[in-house]
């Protein structure tokens, strides 16, 4: 899951390899694999993945609420593993595949976690919801038959001020069941 450093832009290895100059402070070219599509972008090295997704690519389903890794609203997957996209620079993503909330459903077919969230009303204002959905969906990949405690652990980094937690737990357990049947 960790990327060899040589593929990153802005590292000394990159400079020595002469394929890329040291990046910044102006925009540098990067390629991102997002939801199965490839994007080549000019990105300021200081920009976080969350800012690039929302600002440059219009993938606004990923939310920024604290912008310092406290609330997990900005959760996306890198090669299937959840990360706070506000805590990783876009230039450091490298060749890892990014999955955002927009890429979770299979066309019109919602992911079981998404469907269960609707049915169990695990959504209120909906601002923290995309991030929580990403964490719960990742949990089911790792742990197809989770306990309530597993769900609590999976969402322990998330803050939801509306208090959807009880319905999130119920929905995720129901989604696990639905996935198996």
């Amino acid at each position: 899951m960790t990327e060899p450093r040589s593929t990153r832009i802005g590292t000394t290895e990159g400079a020595k390899g002469s394929a890329f100059p040291v990046a910044g402070p102006g925009p540098a070219p990067i390629t991102l694999k997002i939801n199965g599509a490839t994007f080549t972008l000019q990105v300021e090295p200081r920009m976080t993945l969350a800012e690039v997704l929302r600002g440059l690519l219009g993938l606004t389903g990923t939310k920024i609420a604290c912008n310092r890794g406290t609330c997990s609203a900005c959760t996306v997957w890198l090669d299937g593993v959840t990360v706070c996209s506000c805590m990783i620079l876009a230039i450091d993503v490298g060749t890892r595949g990014v999955t955002t909330i927009e890429g979770l459903a299979n066309g019109d077919q919602l992911h079981p976690v998404q469907a269960a969230f609707i049915e169990h009303d695990a959504v209120q204002c909906g601002f923290c919801t995309p991030g929580i959905v990403m964490s719960c969906a990742e949990l089911l990949e790792r742990t197809p038959d989770p306990t309530a405690q597993d769900v609590r652990a999976a969402i322990s980094g998330h803050l939801c001020r509306c208090g959807t937690y009880p319905h999130v737990i119920a929905a995720t357990l129901a989604a696990a069941k639905a996935r198996k049947s």
């Binding site: 955002t100 909330i101 609707i118 919801t129 609590r152 509306c162 319905h167 999130v168």
Partner: protein, 778 residues
């Protein structure tokens, strides 16, 4: 009441379903629809229907204010005061204005204007910049040169009350009355930093205490809580020649429209306020706000759309908060529990703002002939407070419901039995009965009876909240000739799912399914809807939705009557069809009926009628229904006496909201109320450094909010309580479900450890100090 001939008498369902249910006669206007049956007899209303915008929310498709992009959008940032009290002597914006990418600079604290040159809290706006990027705007803020003269300040309520404390305001500059938070009346005296008292008296308080066999007395303190909406406060202002369009994360589109028209001298039809996704408000997004005015001013100046999104630090410092309070309560009672006197002396601080009262719990929850209250606001140099989920009554219940618990113990009466004697509400009596059974109240032991180290306890507390109704609340229902149906209102969905509830109401009335109804809300281009605060949205917007749908249906019936050879009054709409009541085989589908319309689109607009039987009180465009709202909550806790950690294991919340319109969505509201109350009880506190006036935890990691491992099992029980007071008989639930949680937990903690905590939050340090294991903090 209207004149004879304009009204009719109808029988409505009345009482608590399952406990003394009956009927009540009401005289209603002819245009009102027929009485709505109890939920069990309905097709759509009262059913746990998932919210219609759920799919957009779980796929990330919902557009929140922070997500909207417009061509040429500029980004606004605000320069904020670094000092808790200062005078701006000069300000130089020339370097900022010349910075690349800057399109507008706007000075808020003008040295020549005494009304704006004095800054009274860290985070107060000083100037603002709009630029082509957030980075350019922030760079420009650093180029603004301000000469501040530092002034003496006070950042603690007790110090601010002391004689000789440095004044936050003088008599001329102090706010005169402010409707946000718990309303502070006008015309009260200001003495130093203390404004008040606001008095409320009945009976003879001295006689009441003389008649008492027992008096309990205590001081209860509550901390400052911040709203912590996950979507920051955000506005996108687009000032154009032909009018102003504003996208705003707001709890009140129509109110913001009115504020903008007033502030910028525009006619109402030139101001449009829109919100689609709204990421939480909890009281803090009730009005335009200083950042809203700033964004509009920048847009006008730059002649381009400008968006301002507060960052988390700004959220914590200058986006409102729940005022901190200190309440001195004295309660006198006879041996049988009957109350003879209640005396309340409160001081609260909303920083530089007013509205830090503790509500009407002490005044109105229990029967007591003699009452006195003196409530005060105390100014300190801190960010302004505002309404927050159950303002006033949430801190008020923290004190009063613990005092009642203490009284019960002193009288050797069970806390529920005492409440049965002194609480006049038949609704809460039933709620206590149900809740006691659910939590297993019979298991409750003597205080502190469990062995160390983990001690368990049970507690109960009650909630009181006015059944608010907003009268300026309209809904339009349209039917197109192809049978499609729309419901339109400027009312906003702040996460409650009100749009889904409106679809249910219209569907029930027209005999359709909720998915058949297109909901268009959150836009002042539609008929004016109510605010989403004060737990009044459902009570205010569902009756006009039903009335409008009913009127449209009568227009359809007129056409169908001819086709089915029946009287319009003999038709009913159900299961997607219009049929003759006594000859159901004579029918046609709703679509076929709509196709008969001469007009391509018919519509009706209705505005909220008065409650049947009248209101208890009217205040401008708001009113209070006859009954109060409330609920009873039970808590079961485990307290680790070695670490001081309180673990709430279970909450039973028995709540009433009139007719529950959608139990699934209502349950979510109760979860939210309980969890915000739990977080208030155990974790949250805005901490100000007394030496600098600075908030030391302006974030979401040191400002502690309950998370997934803190969540107890929550049993929600919704009473079905009918009174025949409106076309839907529905009232609110979001705030009442927040009010009782903290005192219920506190009473359970007392029952667990035998020591009463009278200050919030009940942190591990506070528990250990209460147990005498470490020195007290204060």
């Amino acid at each position: 009441m209207a004149a004879e001939g304009m009204t009719r008498v109808e029988k409505f369902p009345s009482g608590i379903m399952g406990a003394g249910f009956g009927e009540v006669e009401r005289q209603i206007l002819l245009e009102e629809p027929p009485p709505l049956a109890p939920n069990a007899a309905l097709a759509v209303i009262g059913k746990p229907i998932p919210r219609q915008n759920g799919r957009a929310k779980v796929t990330g498709a919902t557009r929140f204010t922070v997500d909207i992009a417009l061509p040429g959008l500029l980004h606004g940032r605000i320069l904020r005061s670094p000092l808790p009290h200062a005078q701006v002597r000069s300000i130089d914006i020339s370097a900022a204005a010349n910075h690349p990418g800057v399109r507008a600079v706007f000075v808020i604290a003008r040295p020549e204007d005494p009304a704006t040159a004095i800054l009274r809290y860290i985070g107060a706006p000083v100037a603002a910049v709009a630029a082509v990027s957030v980075a350019a705007a922030e760079a420009a803020l650093h180029l603004i040169r301000v000469d501040y003269k530092s002034l003496p300040f006070v950042a603690d309520m007790d110090k601010a009350r002391a004689p000789g404390a440095s004044p936050v305001y003088d008599a001329a500059s102090a706010p005169k009355g402010y409707a946000s938070g718990y309303p502070a009346p006008r015309g009260l005296p200001l003495n130093g930093n203390v404004r008040g008292p606001a008095n409320s008296n009945r009976g003879d308080i001295a006689k009441g205490f003389a008649d008492a066999d027992i008096v309990v007395e205590g001081e209860y303190r509550t901390q400052v809580q911040t709203h912590c909406c996950m979507e920051p406060h955000a506005i996108l202002a687009d000032w154009r020649e032909d009018g102003l369009t504003v996208h705003m994360s707001t709890q009140f589109t129509a109110g913001v429209r009115d504020e903008l028209a007033d502030a910028f001298g525009l006619p109402l039809d030139r101001v449009r306020v829109i919100v689609d996704g709204m990421g939480g408000g909890f009281g803090s997004k009730s009005s335009l706000g200083n950042y809203g005015r700033i964004a509009v001013t920048l847009s006008r100046q730059a002649q381009a759309p400008v968006r301002i999104i507060l960052d988390r630090k700004e959220e914590q410092m200058d986006a409102g908060n729940r005022p901190g309070t200190s309440q001195h309560l004295r309660i006198g009672a006879r041996h049988d529990g009957s109350l003879t006197a209640i005396s309340l002396l409160s001081y609260g601080t909303a920083g530089i703002a007013l509205g830090a009262g503790v509500g009407n719990v002490a005044q109105a929850l229990y029967t007591c002939p003699n009452f006195e209250a003196a409530q005060h606001d105390v100014f300190i140099n801190a960010g302004p407070g505002c309404a927050m989920r159950g303002p006033g009554n949430t801190p008020g219940a923290w004190g009063m419901e613990q005092a009642i618990d203490e009284l019960a113990e002193r009288l050797f009466i069970d806390p529920l039995v005492l409440r049965d004697r002194i609480d006049p509400s038949p609704v809460r009596r039933e709620e206590r009965r149900i809740g006691a059974e659910r939590i297993g109240w019979h298991r409750r032991h003597a205080p502190g009876a469990d062995p160390e180290p983990v001690k368990r306890g049970l507690g109960v507390a009650q909630s009181l909240w006015g059944a608010n109704v907003h009268l300026e609340s309209a809904c339009e229902v349209c039917v197109m000739r192809d049978g499609s149906v729309e419901v339109l209102s400027s009312v906003q969905d702040i996460g409650t799912g009100i749009g889904t509830v409106l679809a249910q109401v219209v569907a029930e009335t027209l005999g359709l399914r909720p998915d058949d109804i297109t909901v268009r809300i959150g836009d002042t281009a539609f008929p004016v809807g109510p605010p989403s605060y004060g737990s009044r949205t459902t009570a205010s917007s569902t009756p006009p939705a039903r009335n409008a749908a009913w009127r449209v249906l009568q227009l359809i019936f007129r056409e169908v009557a001819l086709a089915l050879n029946a009287g319009a009054e003999d038709l009913v709409a159900r299961d997607g069809r219009i049929l003759v009541r006594d000859a159901p085989s004579r029918s046609m589908s709703f679509g076929e009926a709509a196709a008969l319309l001469r007009d391509e689109r018919i519509s009706a607009v209705a505005t909220r009628s008065d409650d049947y039987g009248g209101f208890r009180r009217r205040m401008g465009d708001a009113a209070l229904a006859q009954q109060d709202l409330g609920g009873v909550q039970f808590a079961e806790v485990a307290v680790d006496t070695e670490t001081g950690i309180v673990h709430v294991e279970r909450i039973v919340a028995v709540q009433d909201c009139g007719r529950p319109m959608n139990p699934l969505l209502a349950e979510s509201q109760v979860h939210g109320g309980v969890l915000m109350g739990l977080s208030y009880a155990l974790f949250e506190e805005r901490i100000l450094d007394q030496h600098t006036g600075r908030m030391v935890n302006p974030n979401l990691e040191q400002y502690k909010v309950a998370g997934s491992f803190d969540i107890p099992a929550i049993d929600v029980v919704l009473l079905e309580y009918y009174q025949g007071q409106s076309a839907t008989d529905a009232y609110g639930i979001a705030e009442p479900s927040n009010i009782a949680t903290a005192p219920a937990i506190a009473n359970a903690v007392y029952n667990a450890i035998g020591v009463r905590l009278r200050a919030l939050p009940m942190t591990p340090a506070a528990i250990l100090a209460a147990l005498g294991k470490i020195p007290a903090r204060r």
